[in-house]
């Protein structure tokens, strides 16, 4: 296993299209729910324990060799918003293209054949980590971190928030992020015995509802 491979996969500059998405921050800023570093932190903490936990568990389960089709269906059931399902598949397709070029593997090729329109991004992330020789813990950390780094970066642009303040939010969330990643891996390991029902299903109703409202905006800075 290579620690450097994790840095390549987790790098915000990895060409997988994530920079175009705010993880719901754009809608929350417009609604006046994110106004400063403190409310950004509260937003990110909620996203981490819901979408971040679920994404981490899906990614870790993919590294452990769970069936990608079953994981993708489990992701659908845990993502009621059609806008968020479409976003997850678009991001999955972009990540898969980058990952196949970076870590060529028969499993990634098979995933592209099985999901021509894209699989859910966390499932692709897990299989990319697997192709890169990474561990379930790595994939879970990567997914959990993405669940908060996207909104934090986007808020810098949306609110002209000081980038130092946004980075400090991420640093303060780091211990919680470790615990979420651990919980995600523990749940992923249970899927070997119990199937995908053992995956967490933590939901964030406001994120889901606001994602639908945001998708209907005629003009927006971020795709989601």
């Amino acid at each position: 296993m290579s620690r450097a491979a994790l840095l390549v996969l987790a790098d915000g500059r990895f060409p997988a299209g994530g920079h175009a998405h705010s993880g719901g921050a754009e809608a929350a800023v417009k609604a006046g729910r994110i106004t400063d570093a403190a409310s950004l932190e509260d937003f990110c903490r909620g996203r981490l324990h819901t979408a971040g936990l679920v994404a981490g568990a899906l990614a870790a389960a993919a590294v452990l060799g769970a069936d990608p089709g079953e994981l993708d269906a489990a992701a659908d059931a845990r993502t009621p918003s059609p806008a968020l399902r479409a976003t997850a598949r678009r991001l999955g397709r972009q990540l898969l293209r980058a990952a196949r070029a970076t870590w060529p593997s028969a499993e990634l090729d098979a995933l592209a054949r099985q999901f021509p329109k894209g699989a859910h991004q966390p499932v692709v992330l897990g299989l990319a980590a697997r192709a890169a020789g990474l561990a379930p813990e790595d994939a879970a950390h990567c997914a959990a971190y993405e669940s908060v780094s996207g909104p934090a970066t986007a808020t810098v642009r949306l609110l002209s928030l000081d980038p130092f303040d946004a980075t400090a939010v991420l640093a303060r969330l780091a211990p919680e992020l470790d615990r979420v990643a651990d919980a995600a891996v523990a749940a992923a390991r249970r899927t070997a015995e119990e199937g995908v029902d053992a995956l967490p299903a933590a939901s964030a109703p406001v994120l889901e509802v606001m994602a639908e409202a945001h998708a209907a905006w005629p003009v927006r800075l971020f795709a989601s």
Binding site: F43, C44, A202, V206, E212, A213
Partner: protein
């Protein structure tokens, strides 16, 4: 003396009565879960769950199951809101609901609100298992605290499966001790009432429903299967109910 919670289970089985109506060969309540058949106007049977004791309290274990057999129609409601309260027994209370609906059968599961009172600790699961061709209207409403009261700890998981495929699996945790951010801008954003309405109809497979915003805090969304979800948050139980009722009426 060790205090233990109450263990109670209740079962309903509905099947066609052979005369165009629905019979209830099993209608078994116990302790705090009393079941009463009430008058019904259509071909379906109507059952009310009557809370015969307060609860669930800490340490209680309730299970409620309903099975609707092919061709039968069942409406289940409750006589009053369910109030989760702290108890003398240690630990969380559990309330598990299991619903099975056969092909050509229909279930309306529309109990009153679940209110999480200050100091309570409840884990509630609802799992609906539908055959292909089954119909369902399922409403769940959680209210965080009585008026002016902080909420207890409440975790609620809702799973809906159609023809062996999970179309919805969602868990919401809130109150003291819940994972961080539950009251923040991503999860509940300060709202004190949250609800889900799930409608499963075979015809949605051919004619999917389009996404529709219902005001600013609710949306009607098609799921990955012959089902739609109305997901809503509101400031109080009354506004939440109005949103969910309007959405159901709008589906025709």
């Amino acid at each position: 003396m060790t205090v233990t919670g109450v263990r109670a289970s209740a079962r309903i089985v509905a099947r066609p009565d052979g005369r165009g109506g629905t019979a209830l060969p099993v209608l078994d309540g116990e302790g705090p879960l009393a079941l009463r058949r009430t008058r019904s106007t259509g071909a379906g049977a109507k059952v009310m769950v009557v809370g015969a004791m307060s609860g669930p309290l800490g340490g209680d274990r309730f299970t409620l199951s309903a099975r609707v057999e092919e061709g039968a129609r069942l409406h289940v409601g409750s006589a009053a809101a369910t109030l989760a309260l702290p108890g003398q027994a240690k630990g969380e209370a559990r309330y598990d609901v299991r619903l099975d609906v056969a092909a050509g059968a229909e279930l309306h599961w529309t109990p009153e609100q679940l209110i999480s009172a200050d100091g309570s600790d409840l884990y509630v699961t609802t799992r609906a298992e539908l055959a292909a061709g089954a119909r369902l209207v399922l409403r769940e409403e959680q209210v965080l605290g009585r008026v002016g009261e902080p909420p207890g700890r409440l975790t609620s998981r809702l799973t809906v499966r159609v023809a062996g495929r999970t179309v919805l699996d969602q868990e919401l945790s809130c109150g003291p001790g819940a994972p961080g951010g539950w009251d923040g801008p991503a999860v509940l954003a300060g709202h004190r009432a949250v609800g889900q309405l799930v409608v499963v109809r075979p015809e949605f497979a051919q004619r999917p429903v389009e996404t529709r915003m219902l005001g600013e805090s609710a949306a009607l969304i098609p799921l990955a299967g012959p089902a739609v979800l109305v997901s809503a948050v509101a400031s109080d139980a009354l506004r939440l109910r109005r949103l969910l009722d309007e959405a159901l009426t709008g589906l025709g």
